[in-house]
């Protein structure tokens, strides 16, 4: 689905990734761990074609992701329909006058024809039906997070990139969310700090150290060893 080869990425002069290699297969559920500033959000934005590497290759299916290829209308549309990102900073995603318009935004932009059905369906799924006419940025933190999830899910993408998607959810909503992730048969990459729910989010775990280097990439079973988590700086 994605293949990253020898990617080096700098932001404002500092190196975030150096010579990064990573392959992601269709249908994988991946958990992305790492301390603050290790580059989780940057990696997700890279995979979403929002930031670009200075060198190396990045493919989504057979599309080489670059500013240039994404300028091309049909490629852009196909890619945006296929890959959805829930931002860590939820507020960045909420800029429409109502929850309804917010959820409808991407389907409208990308020319879907069953917009109303999609909006109502995903609003219902996240318990947002009573808020369809509310102004998104005035709602609570958890409600905003649910809107953001509904916004991205409403595209029925092939790949979901989730950046701390449960940071504001209450326990019941988190449980429902985990259930949903498990039931979906698509590629999902979730960045999280929550080690309690991490094992339920995927069978493949990727751990970044504070320099953005992958220090673990493998099965969930052996990912949560004390020594490894200590080395990643995730526990003390």
């Amino acid at each position: 689905m994605f293949s990253i080869k020898g990617v080096t990425l700098k932001r404002e002069g500092s190196v975030i990734f150096e010579n990064l290699d990573l392959t992601i297969k269709a249908g994988e559920k991946i958990v992305l761990l790492g301390v603050n500033g290790s580059g989780k959000s940057t990696l997700l934005k890279l995979l979403n074609g929002l930031v670009f590497a200075q060198s190396g290759e990045l493919f989504f299916e057979d599309i080489a992701l670059s500013k240039k290829t994404l300028k091309e209308k049909t490629t852009n549309e196909y890619f945006r329909k296929s890959v959805g990102l829930v931002f860590q900073n939820i507020d960045a995603m909420l800029f429409n006058p109502s929850v309804y318009d917010e959820i409808a935004y991407a389907p409208r932009q990308l020319g879907f024809d069953d917009i109303d059905a999609r909006v109502r369906n995903y609003a219902e799924l996240f318990g947002l039906t009573p808020y369809l006419q509310s102004v998104p940025f005035k709602l609570s933190g958890g409600q905003k997070q649910k809107i953001a999830l509904a916004c991205v899910m409403s595209l029925s993408p092939k790949v979901l990139l989730l950046d701390e998607p449960t940071s504001a959810l209450d326990p019941a909503s988190t449980a429902k969310f985990l259930e949903m992730v498990r039931a979906l048969e698509i590629t999902i990459i979730t960045a999280t700090h929550n080690l309690t729910i991490a094992p339920m989010l995927g069978e493949r775990v990727i751990i970044l150290d504070e320099n953005g280097k992958i220090i673990y990439d493998g099965k969930s079973e052996s990912a949560y060893e004390i020594d490894l988590l200590k080395r990643a700086g995730l526990i003390i």
Partner: protein
């Protein structure tokens, strides 16, 4: 239809205000707006004043100080700039209080989008401003010294600018991510 007319009047007024180069008319405009607002005049005036104080007062103050030290005239500059922001803010609050902005903008997707973005910025700023003053209040055990207040305000303003630039960038990324294509 009425809302659209209000909207264009609002935009026209904003542009006219932004071109004002002396402070005298701005004082009259402020008084006129004040009278137009009726009951809510005081509340909105206070809000507008606070927002302006927070965003432009301290910046213009330091410029004025510089001008003063170079013994150049600074009153006109200081008053014009601050009154102008005050009037624009006041007008915006008046407009958003009276007109359902989203209805007013129903005629163009792109325009409505951009305006909603800026309105949400204003709203967020109001909220952030409230958070900041709460933070200041909750952190202070004793009465803060004047130095502490200045230091805090200085970093708060710098933080604000950084934040809104960063936010706009991320807003744009989020739009692109969801299929906005130019």
């Amino acid at each position: 239809m009425r809302t659209k007319i209000y909207f264009f009047l609002y935009i026209g007024a904003l542009i006219a205000l932004s071109m004002q180069k002396s402070y005298e008319p701005l004082i009259f405009i402020f008084m006129a707006l004040f009278l137009m607002l009726g009951k809510s005049a005081f509340v909105l005036a206070r809000r507008a004043l606070l927002l302006v104080a927070f965003f432009s007062f301290f910046i213009t103050l330091s410029y004025s100080l510089m001008l003063y030290m170079q013994s150049q005239p600074f009153w006109n500059y200081f008053l014009t700039l601050n009154l102008r922001s005050l009037d624009m803010m006041y007008l915006t609050l008046l407009f958003t209080a009276r007109v359902n902005i989203y209805e007013a903008l129903a005629f163009s997707k792109e325009l409505s989008f951009l305006l909603v973005l800026s309105v949400s910025k204003i709203m967020t700023m109001q909220r952030v401003f409230a958070d900041y003053s709460d933070a200041l209040r909750s952190r202070r055990v004793k009465k803060p010294s004047r130095d502490q207040i200045y230091e805090y305000l200085g970093s708060a303003i710098a933080g604000f600018l950084d934040r809104s630039i960063q936010e706009s960038k991320e807003n744009f990324e989020a739009m692109k991510s969801r299929g906005f294509h130019v």
